[in-house]
């Protein structure tokens, strides 16, 4: 059975028809076509599908699309644009914190939320926050340095 869903994604309003069992990740990727949000493990471990839902970090594969009714979502496409990268995106490039890049969108959104709440995190804070974002290439050290560098600049 399909239901109408209205939500805001990256400041744009969308109205879609979704099944009750569709996840927010499916809505974002298949319904809206924003494929920056990655589909990794689909069981809540890897964090590649991380988005901000009403400003809160969530794994979009574990949120039903209809639970996002009337809410606001920020995906990687809303963080920066190719012409105007977010400072975190620049720092990730400068520090080589991207290898295959699959975990990067989720990791960047987690990093953004961390810096929004705690502009001066310690390395320990950063490592603790990245627990929910797995990287199989192992860029954790580079990502940590990149996030620290953005914190120091601001």
């Amino acid at each position: 059975m399909k239901y109408s869903l209205s939500l805001t994604v990256n400041d744009e309003q969308y109205n879609l028809l979704v099944e009750a069992s569709h996840t927010l990740m499916e809505v974002i990727r298949d319904g809206i076509g924003l494929t920056g949000t990655k589909c990794g493990c689909e069981d809540g471990r890897c964090g590649t599908c991380t988005v901000l839902l009403d400003g809160e970090l969530v794994k979009s594969c574990l949120v039903l699309g209809l639970q996002a009714q009337g809410k606001s979502v920020l995906t990687i496409e809303g963080l920066g644009t190719p012409d105007h990268l977010h400072p975190l995106q620049i720092a990730f490039l400068e520090h080589g914190a991207v290898q295959c890049g699959f975990c990067t969108p989720g990791m960047l959104l987690t990093a953004k939320k961390l810096l929004d709440e705690n502009p001066n995190p310690t390395e320990e804070d950063i490592r603790h926050t990245l627990v929910g974002n797995l990287c199989r290439c192992g860029v954790y050290t580079h990502a940590t340095r990149a996030i620290l560098s953005v914190a120091r600049k601001s």
């Binding site: 069992s21 069981d43 929910g132």
Partner: protein, 293 residues
């Protein structure tokens, strides 16, 4: 494609009516951290998803005479900080803080975690240590059940169709010098614990231990009381007889044969039970003594 309806009631009464109408086919969605997974994996095929996110009045924490009442929709993130305001919840906060990661704690709820009934649930082990009771409501009425009786085995509870878990009550500590501690071990942060242990001690004016509780997580299908170890501590003076903590830890380790897993044999888990029980008890006694008699 699953033919399933989705409802978002705004009151408990409306939710109960929906649960009664759909019977076995209804599944409650709290934070969705368990349900979304079960749906995708095809483990459940509900005819109706009843979301609680718009139901008012299920996310309060209130201290009353009989104890602290916590609404089923309180998130694990909030629970992780509740111990600062409500001292009896400290061990529960420690447990909540270790669940998965920030993303999941933001959405995951107390009620959802309990009803998911995962054998390694940090929350259920901590709640049993605190002797928690759950309130179950249906169109037929309301009942309170000790969590011990509510958890029936792996991923199974004794909730009847149509019943909704609305809140949890943590009874107050009878003696002032009481404390609970939650310890767990997992090789990686964010994983379920290989083994976890909750310990509760309560010391009278002379230092004698009254009604101790030791709960072992992820050893059997549901958190389990280590009764022999508890008996070893009961009525012992824990200020003078510190050996009894070690003896209790040894008894806890041999109390049961833990379920082995690919990453952890039964014998390995038994060793962990011993180490964690010793640590939890030592810390619990230290905390109990911090409280002024």
């Amino acid at each position: 494609m699953l033919n399933c309806c989705y409802c978002e009631p705004t009151t408990v009464a409306e939710a109960l009516t929906l649960l009664a109408e759909h019977g076995d086919g209804a599944r409650v969605v709290a934070g969705g951290q368990v349900i979304a997974l079960l749906l995708r994996q095809g483990f459940i095929k509900p005819s109706c998803l009843v979301s609680l996110q718009s139901v008012a009045g299920l996310d309060g924490i209130t201290a009353e005479q009989r104890g602290v009442r916590i609404g089923a929709m309180v998130t694990l993130h909030r629970l992780g900080n509740a111990g600062n305001e409500y001292p009896t919840l400290r061990a529960l906060s420690e447990a909540a803080h270790t669940v998965a990661d920030q993303h999941i704690r933001n959405r995951g709820t107390l009620g959802g975690n309990i009803c998911g009934a995962h054998p390694a649930s940090d929350i259920n082990t901590a709640l049993m240590t605190l002797n928690a009771e759950v309130t179950l409501v249906s169109t037929q009425g309301e009942r309170m059940v000790n969590l011990h009786e509510f958890l029936a085995g792996p991923f199974t509870t004794t909730a009847k169709p149509g019943e909704l878990l609305t809140e949890v009550t943590i009874p107050g500590f009878a003696l002032r010098r009481s404390a609970a501690v939650y310890c767990r071990f997992s090789p990686r942060a964010g994983d379920f614990p290989v083994v976890s242990v909750g310990a509760f001690v309560s010391l009278d004016d002379t230092g004698q231990c009254q009604e101790p509780r030791i709960v072992l997580g992820n050893c059997l299908g549901a958190p389990t009381r280590a009764t022999e170890a508890e008996q070893r501590l009961a009525h012992r003076n824990l200020l003078e007889d510190t050996r009894s903590l070690t003896e209790a830890a040894t008894l806890a380790a041999t109390h049961l044969t833990p379920r082995s897993e690919p990453m952890a044999s039964s014998a390995y888990k038994q060793d962990l039970v011993g180490v964690l029980t010793r640590a939890a008890l030592t810390e619990a006694v230290a905390r109990a003594l911090e409280v002024r008699p």
